[in-house]
């Protein structure tokens, strides 16, 4: 013992028997964690069928969903505007949606759709923040415009929480056929639901009108003049997320409208989008650009706008409170655009971007008043001209749609993409980020602008035996916003399918970084290798 007490003790310590299960347990624990992480990661992933535009779209959507800062910035980026309209209803509690006084005011003033203010069943008090970025390209049809008010109003009056609850089937396009004989079933469609929280979002769907939604939370419901699925087939999403970073989760409603449009992002453009709404309203009034924010607010029952601005609003809540919802919108616009407004106003609609035009169109439809003027305004850039009839718009709209976003040029290691102005649209080339699997080489190659992008990546031979290539998944790994712009990082993985139809994933080492610079509107896509 004297020999060495600690030596002896140490021996005993080392003799502690290691159970056989240890190895298994460790492996299982690690595997379980990996699965969990992969699942979380894969949830945010898209198949890379799309273009760079698709990448961005995806990210933006996520971004809007995930951070207040992001959402706010997103409002400033026209491209984003086309993509998602995020409506954040704050302070949701287990059984109520809290909406604050302001919002109810908004509501009252908002009745664009119907001439009467739609007085929603008050959801107890609280605050509600709505943010939206949206450029709906709505086929504004004068006829419908007239019909809308009555239809939606009637619908609102008629639909109660119980009635809404009966609708269980999520809308799919094929329902149009299936229920062709029962229009009643199509009148209210279920757009999204969160069954575990008993929350659902419904849309008014009659005569092709895609404006007017009802949000049901348990046994209460509230109506919003939100547009949904205009120009896109994507159903809205609802989820819970802490969108504004205040530590509390909000109910986030993402409404997809329009599709990415071609546009040069310049400072002006960045500021312009918010104006759109304002302009639209103005147009109807005096057709003149110099609209003071307040003026706009009063005149136009801003449907989308009101909602959209809420994000900025949050900050200016006090101010906003004084003005109507519209004014809020205006405010936001102002904040961003400020001085530029007048100029734009002078040109009138001409300067309005396609998006704006589209928005205007929407508004018209929604508001129903001054539709003619609006229509005139809504001259799509491509169509340009006040004479464009409303009916033509819908056809025009597709031209500006998705995929045509970027002109990408190669500068050394960097791929620079500029978003083209609508006027240049015709001559524009579509550049996509593509992934191709070369079977003989067993490698994945990316192409940007039809040029090989980065080195091709070989996949492990033996592991992919008997598997069929399916796609490359692209997963946003992180996104962040600085004053300069928006940065997005992606990871990628190749997807194969085995004989049983199960998917097998091979992570790729290539990592993409996309960077949208707010300063000059450029988009840079880079391959950042893992260091």
């Amino acid at each position: 013992m004297k020999h060495d007490y600690f030596q002896e003790e140490k021996l005993k310590y080392e003799e502690i028997e290691i159970p056989d299960e240890l190895l298994l347990m460790v492996r299982q624990t690690v595997a379980a964690d990996r699965r969990k992480k992969t699942a979380a990661w894969r949830n945010r992933m898209i198949k890379m069928a799309g273009s760079v535009a698709a990448i961005l779209l995806l990210c933006l959507t996520i971004g809007v969903n995930s951070s207040y800062a992001f959402a706010e910035t997103a409002v400033k980026i026209p491209v984003v505007k086309t993509v998602a309209k995020a409506v954040i209803v704050r302070s949701y509690k287990a059984d109520i949606i809290a909406l604050d006084e302001q919002n109810s005011k908004e509501k009252e003033e908002k009745p664009l759709m119907g001439q009467e203010a739609d007085e929603p069943e008050p959801f107890v008090s609280g605050n509600d923040t709505v943010s939206e970025n949206e450029v709906p390209e709505q086929p504004a049809q004068p006829e419908t415009t007239e019909e809308v008010p009555g239809g939606v109003e009637a619908w609102k009056a008629e639909m109660t929480a119980e009635k809404l609850r009966e609708i269980k089937e999520i809308y799919t396009p094929d329902m149009e056929e299936r229920y062709a004989d029962e229009p009643e079933k199509l009148r209210t469609i279920l757009l999204a639901e969160l069954p575990e929280k008993d929350i659902s979002l419904y849309g008014y769907h009659e005569n092709g009108v895609l404006t007017g939604t009802a949000l049901r939370v348990k046994d209460s419901c509230r109506y919003f003049d939100w547009n949904y699925m205009n120009g896109t087939k994507k159903l809205p999403d609802i989820s819970f997320a802490d969108a504004d970073g205040d530590g509390e989760e909000e109910l986030v409603v993402l409404l997809y409208n329009g599709e990415p449009q071609t546009k040069t992002i310049t400072r002006e453009d960045i500021e312009a989008p918010d104006k759109t709404a304002a302009e639209g309203s103005e147009a109807s009034e005096d057709g003149n650009g110099n609209i003071s924010n307040e003026a706009e607010a009063e005149t136009v029952p801003a449907q989308n706008t009101a909602v959209a601005e809420n994000i900025p609003e949050k900050k200016n809540t006090e101010t906003a409170a004084e003005n109507t919802s519209m004014s809020k919108t205006a405010e936001t616009a102002e904040n961003t655009t400020a001085g530029k407004e007048p100029d734009i106003a002078d040109d009138g609609r001409m300067k309005i971007s396609a998006q704006d035009a589209a928005e205007d169109g929407l508004e018209e439809t929604a508001s129903g008043d001054g539709s003619d003027e609006t229509a005139a305004k809504s001259d799509m850039p491509s169509v340009s001209g006040n004479d464009v009839s409303v009916s033509e718009k819908p056809q025009e709209a597709p031209k500006q749609q998705a995929g045509e976003l970027w002109l990408i040029s190669l500068k050394g290691e960097n791929w620079t993409a500029s978003v083209l102005s609508i006027n240049d649209y015709e001559s524009q080339i579509i550049h996509q980020l593509k992934a191709e699997y070369d079977e003989t080489a067993g490698a994945i190659q990316l192409y940007l602008m039809e040029e090989p992008f980065g080195k091709s990546e070989k996949l492990p031979e033996e592991e992919k035996d008997g598997l069929t290539y399916e796609a490359v998944n692209l997963a946003p790994e992180r996104e962040f916003i600085t004053e300069k712009g928006l940065f997005l990082h992606f990871r990628m993985e190749a997807v194969f399918v085995n004989a049983n139809g199960e998917e097998v994933f091979f992570p790729l080492s290539i990592k993409l970084k996309a960077e949208i610079c707010l300063e000059d509107g450029s988009l840079v896509v880079e391959n950042i290798k893992e260091r």
């Binding site: 060495d4 600690f6 310590y13 290691i18 347990m25 690690v30």
Partner: protein, 187 residues
């Protein structure tokens, strides 16, 4: 180092050194099943929070700390459980005697009578042969605290073992010198 690489190297570290972690856990909780639980919880926590890990160098100490903390947490809970059980002796008797779970070896009987923080220092220093600096990292204390704990532990043990007193102190002296040399070298 990317997050993924960090995660992978953490997994590697855990798998490679699992026996060491198990021994440490067993040393504290003195029960096979409990030690397995402790290690499992530690792994889960580490993998969940690996992003908090600053660098790969800090990994070993960081994970060791988690294992020790988990063990202590287990002991605390256990203590509560026993205290609660004492009021209900009938329950205790049936369920508690499971000889298979008794530690076969009486690990460091005298040492286990020491306060926990001293036990940890002894275990790490003499059994795991960690340097005092490493111990400081693992226990998240500063070097001087480790030294004084080690000294106090040796003294206490020395008193109990009387005869070894002298030798323990000598050993302790050696450890201190070694630690100083190390820190000088690093500087």
């Amino acid at each position: 180092m990317s997050k993924k690489a960090l995660y992978d190297s953490l997994v590697k570290h855990i798998v490679e050194n699992q026996n060491q972690f198990y021994r440490a856990a067993f040393y504290y909780v003195k029960n096979r099943e409990a030690a397995l639980d402790v290690v499992q919880n530690a792994i889960c926590k580490a993998l969940e929070n690996y992003e908090k890990l600053q660098s790969e160098e800090a990994m070993a100490s960081w994970f060791y700390r988690i294992v020790i903390n988990e063990s202590l947490m287990y002991l605390r809970k256990e203590k509560k459980y026993i205290a609660w059980d004492e009021s209900d002796n009938d329950l205790l008797e049936g369920s508690y005697e499971e000889p298979a779970y008794e530690p076969k070896i009486e690990v460091v009987s005298k040492i286990s009578e020491l306060p926990t923080d001293m036990q940890i220092v002894i275990q790490l220093h003499f059994f795991e042969e960690k340097t005092l600096k490493e111990i400081a990292e693992i226990t998240d204390t500063n070097l001087n605290t480790v030294k004084s704990r080690l000294y106090a532990a040796c003294k206490k043990l020395g008193k109990e073992l009387e005869k070894e007193d002298e030798e323990l102190l000598t050993r302790y002296g050696k450890s201190l010198k070694k630690a100083e040399r190390e820190s000088r070298n690093e500087a």
